[in-house]
Amino acid sequence: MSGDTLPEVSDTLLEVSDPLLEVSDLAVHFRARGKGVVKAVDGVSFNVRRGETLGIVGESGCGKSTTGLALLRLVEPTAGSVRLDGVELAGLRGGALRAMRKRVAMIFQDPYASLNPRLSIGDIVAEPLEVHGLHAGRTARRMRVDELLTMVGLDPNFRTRYPHELSGGQRQRVGIARALATEPDVIVADEPISALDVSVQAQIINLLEDLQGDLGLTYLFIAHDLAAVQHISHRVAVMYLGRIVELADRVTLYEAPAHPYTQALLSAIPVADTAVERARTRIVLTGDVPSPRDPPPGCNFAGRCPRAEDACRDVDPVLEPLRVGHDVACLVARRELADGDSPAAVTRP
């Protein structure tokens, strides 16, 4: 595949093929010092098919990063199930856990903090090969490192350099090369571009898309930047306070967002076009995200929601299909659809 377009996951494949990654009712609760339990992730379910990119967006504290970490069991889930190719990951130990981690790799936000400053680029990329006993032998390993560096657009001579000698974009390429080392099926990318300059962000997004086309990778792309997420993802999940509140394909999410939180998020994204900015009616949310330690009864978002009704403060909405392929956890959106009101009456400039 040339990588010139978003790799298409064909509709038939979407309907027929079993999901590669199945997450159901995933929960990660932390015990806070003497102050009860913080529900960082509180019942999250989604599926990702092979070759697909699922974006997860949300603001700080919504649980998106913890969700990513829990998939790799880098934090231990409190409850729920994560299946890779039908195999349950909870309870895996030792060799079985290592084998799973070979198939699911991670890319982090800050490539500087996630690369060991004392190791050369070659050693950093070779580390997963060593851990998993791949491409054993000096020559074979070095050839594989050179191949990986070339795949991410770096000159193989970079292997002798150190992270501090590299720019942010180059460091993120090293992070990607390291993630690719074990030939994973799934890559969890946690804010992979948010620490980078604008012009470099585009380079990295293009690289990730090229790699997906060439290697058939499946991505979980976690970020707060909705524009970037919508660019790279086939489907997007919006998280708020440990839950998914809306899940839809990228165009639907942009053109017909049904959850008031998604609508507010979309209305707040600044666009580099003065005509758009002047025509914008921003949905201003009041207040802050409530503490995940003490979430309010009813809908988590009701306290800030411009469209909340009385029922929202009592009933905790469940994520359910509003239409085929469009899941929403909102009583108002559901009622409006039932009443024949136009749901998601968001006017776009």
Partner: protein, 343 residues
């Protein structure tokens, strides 16, 4: 973009004499690797009440350039040259005492991370009151009353109850509101905001931008807003300066600059932004390569290496000067880059 908007938007810097006039500002630093030329001849004006956005990527010199205005670049290792005219005096030749006076009273500064600018062991009320008591000799009671007013002004709910709170008890957005409150305590004529919303969530960012705009209307201050985010610029700025390798490479009214960018770098930046929705570009435009090393700047155009418009070596030997390509729209490029076709 239409010429109609151009005419109305340019009112902001007509007639009135500038509040801030920067002339040939240069900042360099001695480093182990040699002399880093970070700011290389900045000249611009800011009119009273005007919002000027300075846009650039990391290393473009956008932050150092404004730190240098107020004598905040340590010398050595830094070395600052040029003139900074502000309210009738040249800050470049002002004493440290005069500079402190300007910083405490006439110019407010808000930075990216409010947590590092606030003292974690003092209550918000104490920190807000401090400058009032220091600069204005207010009593404790007066200072508290004014602090409540200010917290209310920047939209902090139940301000009286929150005076006794410490910074960590506030969210990021609330902390930035407090910083803004502290900045506008003295009714400054200029607010310098260095990436004030970069660390914030998008909905919080929108609130802060709106707050600053409201305050500007109310207090009539000019704003210099430093950012890498062209989206924020579109909603906020009257005029935009784009910096690259320590120089302004394009400047103009916001509509012209975003609607009809003429420098290959500005154009590349805009093209590299993902656009949500149906009209997703098949592939993002990415500017190849990296900005030049400030220790080894090229003799000519600093963007030459990465430029997709370059034809020959013309720009290699001398730095292209800013030239006017449309009224009030200046570009430091020898090529007449064709206007963008918009759909």
């Amino acid at each position: 973009m239409s010429g109609v908007q151009r005419a109305t938007a340019s009112d902001s810097n007509a007639i009135t004499s500038p509040l801030l006039s920067v002339r040939d500002l240069r900042v360099r630093f001695g480093t182990k690797r040699g002399v880093a030329h970070v700011v290389n001849g900045l000249s611009y004006d800011v009119a009273p009440g005007e919002t000027v956005a300075i846009v650039g990527e990391s290393g473009s010199g956008k932050s150092v350039g404004v730190m240098a205005l107020l004598g905040l670049v340590p010398q050595p290792p830094g070395r600052v040259e040029g003139d900074v005219w502000f309210e009738g005096r040249n800050l470049a030749t002002a004493s440290e005492r005069e500079l402190r006076q300007v910083r405490g009273n006439r110019v407010a500064m808000v930075f990216q991370d409010p947590m590092t600018s606030l003292n974690p062991v003092l209550t918000i009320g104490r920190q807000l009151g401090e400058s009032l008591r220091l600069h204005h000799g207010a009593s404790r009671r007066e200072a508290d009353a004014r602090a409540v007013e200010l917290l209310d002004l920047v939209g902090i709910p139940s301000p009286r109850q929150r005076l006794g709170d410490y910074p960590h008890q506030f969210s990021g957005g609330m902390r930035q509101r407090v910083m803004i409150a502290m900045g506008v305590v003295t009714n400054p004529s200029l607010l310098i905001a260095d990436e004030p919303t970069t660390a914030l969530d998008v909905t919080t960012q929108a609130q802060i931008v709106e707050l600053v705009q409201e305050l500007q209307q109310r207090l009539g201050m000019a704003i210099v807003w430093i950012t890498h985010d062209l989206g924020v610029v579109a909603g906020l700025a009257h005029r935009v300066l784009v910096m690259y390798a320590g120089r302004i490479i394009e400047s103009g009214i916001v509509d012209d600059l975003l609607g009809d960018p003429r420098h290959p770098y500005t154009r590349g930046l805009l093209a590299s932004l993902p656009r949500p929705g149906r009209d997703r570009p098949a592939r993002l435009f990415a500017i190849p390569g990296l900005p030049p090393d400030p220790v080894a700047l090229p003799a000519g155009c600093a963007f030459w290496e990465r430029c997709s418009y370059r034809l020959d070596d013309t720009e290699r030997d001398s730095v292209p000067a800013l030239r006017e390509v449309a009224p009030g729209h200046h570009v430091a490029c020898v090529y007449d880059v064709p206007a963008i076709e918009r759909t």
